[in-house]
Symmetry: C2
Subunit: 346 residues, 2 copies
DNA sequence: CTGAAAGCGCTTACAG
DNA sequence: CTGAAAGCGCTTACAG
């Protein structure tokens, strides 16, 4: 039976005896299988004493419920999946914390998955989560298209965190108000006297596009000209932008569509001998740990990440209970730090 | 049956019809249940044509195997758990990538879990992984004590990545050679002419202690005095160290036990008006993304993370097959960047 | 309050 | 090459 390959369970079994089942507990406690099941789940239709005795016996034997068996009969797993673009983005991390806190409150367990910044891998992970039988999934990545999301959402309810263009019906969403965030950044710089404010955008995704549009509108609204630098692949766009900043009538400030871009601008500026913020002010987006670690520290637009996670999980629970999908928007705030300076004249 | 709470499955079922089982496929293909099972797993004892027909039918119906049911009968899940201290540490991220690559090759799926830097949470997560029925677990956190590890390891094989004091027998390990890494850092600084080299240590964990010991021995070996600053809780220890660096006969270089500490030293130095590296050279450990993002960029000791992940997963697979636990050590390398300068005289 | 029975969706010998 | 049968560990009505 355990002849050839794959039967490595022998080792485990021998290390903790046979695996203890509900039947072992029943025998030890002198009751029926059902009684044990009821006792373990705290069913009221069972005598207090009987119940206590059964629980004690289970404990003594080191009984652990087999989740797979339970899920099989119950038709649900009590698991929710969270799909991340990649690990090690603290933008995502704090959202995950919010999700976990909310999940714990409603008695669900969180399974994490990530796609290593590769849409194909992300798609595979989404399928795997479905195969694992998650009862719902939160997608924390903007790298998946509407078609992929729609297909995955037929298997279990879904909530997307972050902006997605053309989100299919039935899928919930939670996003920050990108337009408001961009406006905060521009207005802050304008208020400090900056007139030539450039925007660095890193991607063509919905959130980046919204920030860019709002930047442009804010600049026009302030009677100023907009200058957008696109640097999707770290292809020298950042250097170009910083080179322009070094010239007469070049930008005196940069609003980047995220902190990574802002950090790259700071690094390139320092590498080129520009002073930050005296020669160039820089604002990022997301208020990540990077923003705090850098010197000068980055001023950045902060999204209320834990709250976003909680909202996403709460909405997912609603969807699982049969509720309607909603699109929730939260307001960002500007966190002011050192990489921005007042600008006189010019 | 689905009266009160928790029966949100109705919604899903209605959105994709009834869930397709092996029995549906059998009926549609006009064969028995067993035939479908055999066909789907590519069993050789089945006609090529029959098999193709069954597979086609399964595809057409959108059949997805129920993993829980399969695991229940097979007695294993094909899942391995990976326990992380927290998300968003790119030291851990690349190890995870190595683990995943190796796992895929041996046909195992990876489940991620993390403890938010809290030992109690970590311990809970480890138990949850066991309850989910993982066939093995890689622990990527140094925050768990031997007792906790030993208990968890009775449920399934375990490999720990990173140094652990008093690792219980039967548990495998993969770690970098901390002593060699510390030596590389000290020798590099000494080679550049530094004589007063301080060490910043952040924790009492085994790896940190080993680096500290090796630092002290390297200094003594070079005929130099050692100066260790302990800053476990960002409690001002970093400021103290940097203040000392500003004084006559203060340290001209700092070797920090990790990049986060090194970054804090750089930030504190710059905040205090010291120039890095002219006034103070700084070396970190782990060669994280932070080391590259900072200006000046950090020189840092690099651990071969993807390789460590692969080794851990490969060893875990061996353990699951009944092999003996081993303790593997890999060699670190020094990655030289800008935050270190040559020191004349002094 | 209890116990026998059916069944969740699959795999696995086993007899044909 | 096929089909009937048992069983993985649990939950859930149901009859007592």
């Amino acid at each position: 039976m355990c002849a050839a390959s794959g039967c490595y369970n022998e080792r485990v079994s021998s290390s903790n005896g046979r695996k203890v089942t509900i039947l072992d507990v029943a025998r030890a406690a002198g009751v029926s299988k059902s009684a044990v099941s009821l006792a373990l789940r705290g069913d009221p239709g069972l005598g207090k004493r009987t119940r206590a005795a059964i629980v004690a016996e289970a404990q003594r034997l080191g009984y652990r419920q087999n989740r797979w068996a339970r899920s099989l009969v119950q038709g649900r797993t009590g698991l929710v999946g969270v799909l991340l673009t990649d690990l090690s983005s603290d933008y995502q991390t704090e959202i995950v914390h919010g999700i976990e806190d909310a999940a714990e409150q409603v008695g669900l367990e969180v399974l994490l998955s990530h796609g290593r910044r590769d849409p194909a891998v992300l798609q595979r992970r989404l399928t795997q989560l479905g195969d694992l039988g998650v009862d719902g999934v939160v997608v924390l990545s903007a790298m998946l298209g509407p078609a992929v999301l729609a297909r995955a959402a037929t298997r279990q309810p879904m909530v997307v965190v972050g902006r997605v263009e053309g989100l299919p019906p039935g899928i919930g969403s939670v996003a920050n108000h990108d337009e408001a965030g961009a406006q905060l950044a521009v207005q802050h710089l304008v208020g400090l006297g900056h007139r030539r404010i450039a925007h660095l955008t890193m991607s063509q995704r919905a959130a980046a596009r919204a920030r860019r549009r709002a930047y442009e509108e804010s600049m026009v609204g302030a009677g100023l000209g907009a200058f957008v630098q696109v640097a999707p692949e770290w292809d020298g766009g950042v250097d170009q932008l910083v080179a322009a900043a070094g010239e007469q009538d070049g930008p005196t400030a940069v609003f980047a569509s995220n902190d990574r871009g802002a950090a790259a601008v700071v690094a390139a500026a320092l590498d080129r001998g520009l002073r930050v913020p005296e020669d160039l002010s820089v604002i990022g987006y997301d208020n990540t740990a990077l923003a705090q670690a850098l010197r000068p520290a980055l001023t950045s637009v902060d999204q209320p990440r834990p709250q976003m996670g909680r909202l996403a999980m709460d909405q997912l629970a609603e969807l699982m209970a049969g509720g309607e999908a909603r699109h929730q928007v939260v307001e960002p705030e500007l966190v002011v730090r050192g990489a921005v300076a007042r600008r006189w004249g010019s």
